[in-house]
Symmetry: C2
Subunit: 113 residues, 2 copies
């Protein structure tokens, strides 16, 4: 039988390529960039403060936070009725190392066209 199977073999991309893309995707929205910057520059990382700071609806911010949590870049701890978010330094470093290594490809490469 002629199998026009659904493509997308999981060996199409390496785990590293997928990881790089995943981290990059997490940074691929200005709101998330701003959230991360805010979490770095302030100690009060309560969700409500983030909502005020960014200027998007509370539910939207929650979605972005969820996205960042998914990659492990941030983590939240319940504090009474609010939730305190902060950078997960381990994940941040992991992302940093992975992406910087990716960026530094150009140090090996010479000219092309």
């Amino acid at each position: 039988m002629k199998t026009k199977l659904k493509t997308t073999p999981e060996n199409r991309f390496t785990e590293e390529q997928n990881q790089i893309a995943l981290f990059a995707k997490a940074l691929g929205h200005p709101a998330r960039v701003k959230i991360l910057q805010y979490l770095f520059e302030t100690k009060s990382c309560v969700c409500g403060d983030i909502v005020d700071e960014i200027g998007l609806a509370q539910s939207t911010i929650s979605q972005h936070l969820k996205e960042l949590k998914k990659t492990g870049l941030i983590q939240g701890t319940v504090e009474g009725t609010s939730v305190c978010y902060c950078i997960n330094n381990e994940s941040w470093t992991k992302m940093k190392d992975l992406l910087v290594e990716f960026f530094d490809q150009d140090l090996i490469k010479t000219d092309c066209c």
Copy 2:
């Protein structure tokens, strides 16, 4: 009454935040990560070779190349009937600098939660 000043989408994010997100978004798909790696590691950066290398449809690769071109990370030069793609080193460096600076926020940062 507390009047929540509505920020317009234009000044909601800084130009830097938008730039970071834009570059990150470009890297936010494993196919584009792989394309960039391929362009670095080989001298033959012809579109057809990229299609063979990645294993996606030609039109899909074209779309990804367009996306990368949009950010300026790559450029293509027509060579006869084919097109030779290569990294735009200036843009690559610009992205590198911008993102590495963003990554290095953690060097200033103390602990949070």
